[in-house]
Symmetry: C2
Subunit: 190 residues, 2 copies
């Protein structure tokens, strides 16, 4: 197999990424998620008061990746298809190192979280959340966890925080796929 | 053509990305660079003193993307192949918006910069730097600009700041491709 054919095969595997689960229902971390499409990164983002306990610690970066087929589908439609996988990679921040003198750059992985749309597996709206920690299998979070209600109430598009993904929020506006609640909230903030 | 074949074709185009130039030598911004491999993001990074003039402004995020074929080559060898393209996307930061109360998330593109390895085109070590601003063509920076000497002196691997790309720095250590100067500097900082 030529070098290009090998690269193309690897691309096809990445493109065909589907959620896979262990026998006890944990989500398997895709080994190539760092080659998925990057949506955005935040530093020290918080939905609580920045003065709440714990918020004075060194902030973490949060990188969000999505499987490429879901990304391209979103570009075309403004919606997430079934089998969408979003992975949130939490990384520690450093400030001084090498020649860097200020601001923050990323260092080690602290934890990984996932949000998956799999209609056949998850009743209701099809979404489920998983916490990997530093493991390569992620335990599904209980339906009573805040993430479910918060994403449902505040996600700009279909249970996802597209409002923090600058390329995709513009697509959602064009395709008119923003949730009514998000449109209402945005109008109130202007 | 099936939907999957169309997606595979799009992947192949992304995989085959090569630097392209205008008649007057400007680098053309690849339209799909947001689907390239994300290396890391920083916020407010500075190689000058953080107290220098201008450093008190609202900090920007810096996302770095590389063409997928170059990324996979680096994973295999710890080195950048010819035709490597690194793009630095500078985005403004916001703090309060939607339900976010603290920290920083990314908003609009402020500017894009590029670093390209193209041995047939750029004599010496083959690297050249380009500034796009908000245009889709980037002007090559003069050889006298600081970026050339700084990357040559301080880049952990072959004129690039791999020390700020947490996945790749581990590869470079394993493959023993760190520059002698970087190894020496790192030892001094321990």
């Amino acid at each position: 197999m030529s070098r290009f054919a090998a690269l193309l095969l690897a691309s096809s595997i990445t493109l065909m990424a589907q959620p896979r689960y262990t026998g006890d229902g944990q989500l398997m971390l895709p080994s190539d998620y760092r080659e998925w499409v990057f949506l955005s990164s935040g530093l020290g983002m918080t939905y609580d008061s920045p003065n709440a306990p714990g918020m004075q610690m060194k902030p973490s970066f949060t990188n969000v990746f999505v499987n490429p087929a879901a990304y391209r589908s979103f570009l075309a439609t403004g919606k997430w298809p079934d089998k969408t996988m979003l992975l949130l990679e939490v990384r520690a921040s450093s400030s001084k190192g090498s020649i860097n003198q200020g601001g923050s750059y990323q260092s080690d992985v602290v934890a990984i979280e996932g949000e998956v749309k799999d209609g056949a597996k998850f009743p209701g709206n099809g979404w489920a959340f998983f916490a990997f920690g530093k493991s390569n299998t992620g335990k599904m979070l209980a339906r009573t966890q805040d993430c479910y209600s918060c994403h449902l109430q505040h996600g700009a598009v279909d249970n996802t925080f597209v409002q923090f993904y600058p390329v995709l929020i513009e697509i959602a506006k064009i395709k008119s796929t923003l949730t009514p609640v998000f449109i209402h909230e945005s109008a109130g903030q202007r």
